[in-house]
């Protein structure tokens, strides 16, 4: 998997001071995230929970000071991790996660940042030895009309109809799904969806950020996407997360004997 163009570049424990840390580079958009996990730590009295550990997620932007966007991202990560981490194992403690956006094509795009952030966080939690119910993996899928002429997506494209084969010929007008799109593809996308599944195939997060307006509704450009397409896309996302994602985690941690 490590040699595949789809596999992210993962470096484990780049920060010697943290309990667990990970640097993750998305294969297509070159978004690089660095996360560190410390815990269980002493918790501030106001955040203390009597029978659970408090999870704190801090997202630090690459440019400027943290604002609404970072708060949004951290709350999405927080809610995803809430169902993964066994917080009842360390009551009255703090599990502190800091995610630093190191490099990004577009520092303002939520969907491009969310998937690397989630994957990186999960890997660093595993390194830190935080007890988790299961592992999850996140994938970002964009629906594009006619992927012809887009560079750098070889092997990342599949059809919505009847499952896909990598690198097949597509019609100009046909709708295809591009995995982990970069900002150029995202700007042409009809809709884009960030999906996170656990190893067992349970949905942890669905976000159709910035390209859609609410439930099964319309994309920002008014072209819309319907629920049947979405379900097919979710099915493919589930396959990617449960098979390839888990394989990536397994390989990354292979010499660490976590599994």
């Amino acid at each position: 998997m490590a040699s595949s163009p789809l596999a992210p570049e993962i470096s484990l424990n780049p920060l010697p001071q943290a309990d667990g840390s990970c640097q993750y580079t998305c294969p297509t958009s070159r978004t690089t995230i660095l996360t560190s996990v410390n815990g269980p730590l002493e918790v501030r009295p106001k955040d203390e929970l009597p029978s659970h550990a408090t999870i704190e997620v801090i997202v630090k932007p690459g440019i400027g000071v943290a604002g609404v966007r970072e708060t949004r991202l951290s709350s999405l990560i927080h809610s995803t991790l809430q169902s993964l981490i066994l917080t009842n194992h360390h009551p009255r403690t703090l599990i502190q996660i800091v995610a630093q956006i190191v490099q990004a094509e577009d520092h303002t795009s939520l969907p491009l940042l969310l998937t690397p952030l989630l994957n990186c966080t999960i890997l660093s939690l595993l390194i830190a030895g935080i007890p988790m119910r299961t592992v999850g993996w996140s994938v970002h899928l964009a629906v594009v009309q006619g992927a012809k002429g887009i560079k750098g997506v070889e092997g990342q494209v599949f059809k919505l109809e009847g499952g896909g084969d990598d690198g097949m010929e597509t019609e100009e007008s046909e709708e295809v799904v591009v995995r982990n799109p970069n900002s150029e593809i995202l700007s042409r996308a009809k809709s884009s969806h960030t999906l996170t599944f656990s190893k067992e195939g349970d949905i942890l997060l669905i976000e159709s950020l910035e390209c859609s307006q609410g439930s099964g509704g319309e994309s920002a450009d008014g072209q819309g996407w319907d629920i049947s397409d979405f379900l097919k896309l979710a099915e493919e996302g589930k396959r990617i997360c449960c098979e390839e994602g888990v394989e990536i985690i397994r390989e990354a941690l292979a010499d660490r004997k976590v599994f």
């Binding site: 920060l15 010697p16 001071q17 660095l34 560190s36 002493e42 400027g64 502190q96 800091v98 490099q103």
Partner: protein, 298 residues
């Protein structure tokens, strides 16, 4: 938030006794830096500096703004140094520590007030449009000497950064993307570099032990510190000695001379790293590089 663990008496005695005999825990000479590793990212103005286990990222970004009313000819330059729990769990978000304040004041004094960056060169149209530069420093890992590392990171990032070319015709301002015109480097007048000395007691001859590039352990044990900012021409830009043990004038002179010498080495290292990066960046595309230089025939 958790406090840094206090250093035990045994450890403290061990470190200090060793220093009295000119020995350091990590085996370095007391007047030597750890290895400085510089690596650059995909875009201009992004640098990752490692000094032993200390690691700092710097990123320069630029945007066009309207200048301040009282300074219509000048662009702006801000340095943002926000430490988070990533560097060390004892740093809290939104609650700056003493180190935070010291660091931002020192960088301000060393880089901004020594006019390392020519702000007037950032002007596009007087009183209308200027460049606003921003240096974001991210502290990833703290093992002492954050000040010197941050300073090296900022200077390197500034030297690495390229500003898009702007053409002005009448009222219209065109900012050319990097793909269209070769972006230009900033006009840096000099490279001020901080060197921090830590004072840890006296040795057997009654002379003060002064250590360069202290680790976190040594920083926790030191009785005082002094930061001298020098450029490669040996000009002292600022000296900061806030509190701590008193230092003789003679020691100060000695330190200043040593700082000037160290800065020459660091300056050379940065220059080499920048040149290496430029070569790899333009690999197989040297014509492109030549085109951007005015000394070549067109």
């Amino acid at each position: 938030m958790p406090k840094e663990p206090e250093i035990s008496l045994a450890e403290k005695t061990f470190v200090l006794e060793a220093l009295k005999q000119n020995l350091r825990i990590d085996g370095r000479d007391i007047h030597s830096f750890r290895d400085i590793q510089l690596s650059f990212g995909d875009d201009y103005g992004f640098v990752d500096v490692r000094l032993g286990k200390t690691r700092v990222l710097a990123r320069i970004s630029a945007e066009v703004i309207k200048p301040r009313q009282d300074r219509p000819f000048e662009g702006t330059f801000t340095i943002s140094t926000e430490m988070g729990p990533m560097a060390s769990p004892s740093f809290e978000v939104g609650r700056p520590t003493n180190l935070d304040h010291t660091l931002s004041r020192l960088l301000e004094k060393s880089i901004r007030r020594s006019t390392a960056l020519d702000l007037e060169s950032l002007c596009i149209v007087t009183a209308q449009r200027v460049w606003s530069l921003r240096a974001d420093l991210h502290f990833l890992s703290h093992d002492g000497n954050l000040i010197d590392t941050a300073c090296i990171a900022t200077i390197t990032a500034l030297a690495h950064f390229r500003l898009p070319v702007v053409t002005v015709s009448g009222e219209d301002i065109t900012i050319h993307p990097v793909t269209e015109r070769v972006p230009v480097p900033l006009s840096l007048l000099h490279w001020p570099i901080c060197v921090t000395f830590s004072f840890l007691g006296e040795d057997e001859d009654g002379e003060m032990v002064c250590v360069l590039d202290a680790t976190a352990q040594e920083e926790a044990l030191r009785e005082g510190d002094m930061t001298i900012t020098v450029n490669k021409n040996g000009e002292v830009c600022q000296i900061s000695k806030s509190g701590g043990v008193a230092v003789e004038a003679e020691t100060l002179m000695k330190c200043a001379r040593m700082a000037a010498e160290k800065v020459k080495g660091i300056d050379k290292l940065i220059t080499t790293a920048l040149r290496d990066d430029e070569v790899t960046r333009n690999k197989g595309n040297l014509d492109w590089l030549k085109e951007g230089r005015s000394e070549n025939e067109r």
